[in-house]
Amino acid sequence: MSDAPDSSAPDAVRLDQPWAISPAVALRPEPFGALAYHFGNRKLTFLKRPELVTVVRGLADAPDVAAALAAAAVPEAQWPGYLAALQGLARTDMIRPRQTEGAAA
């Protein structure tokens, strides 16, 4: 039913990679941040900080993860925490690596 990639071996989220929100995912703003629902695998996930929502929404338009973090004005000291959160989102296919021509793998 799900068109998700094999969730047992998710790609590691790295700062120098382009990522994007999955096409089957909808984000709904909430007072604490947002709810993310994946219409394919039926997973519901909570983005517990508005800054994380900004980062996730910004992924698709940023050349890489680092740029999305910078665009959302996340202090660099907090990037490891955000990377871990993004890794969690990748595990349930909420975000996916973006295939761009010429992008470094």
Partner: protein, 464 residues
Amino acid sequence: MTIAPERPGTGAGPSTGPSTRIGQLLPTTGDRTPRGDRLVDQFELGLDAPICLTWELTYACNLECAHCLSSSGRRDPRELSTDQAKAVIDELQRMQVFYINIGGGEPTIRPDFWELLEYSIEHNVGVKFSTNGVRLSEERAAFLASPAMNGYVDIQISLDGATAEVNDYVRGPGSFDTAIRALENLQAAGFSDAKISVVCTRQNIGQLDEFKAIADKYGAMLRLTRLRPSGRGADVWDELHPLPEQQRELYDWLMANGENILTGDSFFHLAAFGESLPGLNLCGAGRVVCLIDPIGDVYACPFAIHDNFHAGNILTDGGFQQVWQKSELFQDLRAPQTGGACAKCSFFDACRGGCMAAKFFTGLPLDGPDPECVQGYGESALASMNAAGGRVIPESSQDHSKKNPTRNQPVMLQLGRRPDDLEASLQPRGMPVSACAESPLAGFDPGTGALGGGGGCASGACGC
């Protein structure tokens, strides 16, 4: 699951003491800042739109299950029209309600059910619907498995026994076969991951492995939920609800098999056994959950169809969003609660006092223990209320049960106990009043070929 970078907890805000207005339902602290940084603390304050919205499309049903939580049977003449139902779906799409749980009654016997299903999916509102399977023919199964549904539909087939004997006892004759046929049709059509939805009862807790085997056989998932004393369930709860040792059996089984078993976050009262089961583990009524009934009334949760939990009506109170965000009842439910008598219990953080509907419909105070509290506080509360002159069980506010029994009605016959004094109980209580009362053929004389007119026996010999 929670995805959040670490940050220091905000700690508890100031408490301003109990509020009397909000206290109509539950004692609260009157404080609306989250008590902690856990997501559950945020959820207690409510969301902009529900996560889990149940919509009972009709009170009409072909079955008359003994424990029906919505007392369904007859269609309500005020039922929302097709256009009104579509307007509800439009609003849910605007609110970004990701999916709806459609139930009833039996939703598939509404003639426009399939039209509404397609409409909802076209409008990005996923559908999970519960059915007894009566309309899931081969053709319908093929339609549900077709690309038109885009994989956005989930189907829950209700089955409350792993054998016809146990299932039909509460759901009525033939209902086991109907459900199995529906599962066969879905499997044959290639519909994957149908759900078998089981209400756990005293009679079927021992069949959990058999349920799992049925699910595996049909490529389905198993979904176990808790029996609530709601609707007609109030009438049979004493007989059907799992015994304390069965609750432990259920908990152990869920801990062992939990990964692939759905529970609808139903058993959070079992968390007080120790480790929490997967899920939010809080009462979501009016906070993340609510119910729209067939006539557009909004209630705090699917198990609380009662005036006391009625938040408003989508037709007369300005639409669903208005009711969800503004109703006084929901505001009250979102206010942090003190936990009452339960707050002293060391397991309060695990079970949070249990299920509001289960307390209400067994006549227990809402800030007291759940009637099935696994620490035994519910049982003692019930016993002490009984001893103190009896509990008052709330009368139901609405009942769409069929007025006359039909052939589908379950017959909950039980073998009686042997009387203490068998001899005495077998003695006739008196002489037969007349031959008529004893013999169905009294006074019939084949020779005359008539029983006589005007009533009574033809012979007149008996004096009737």
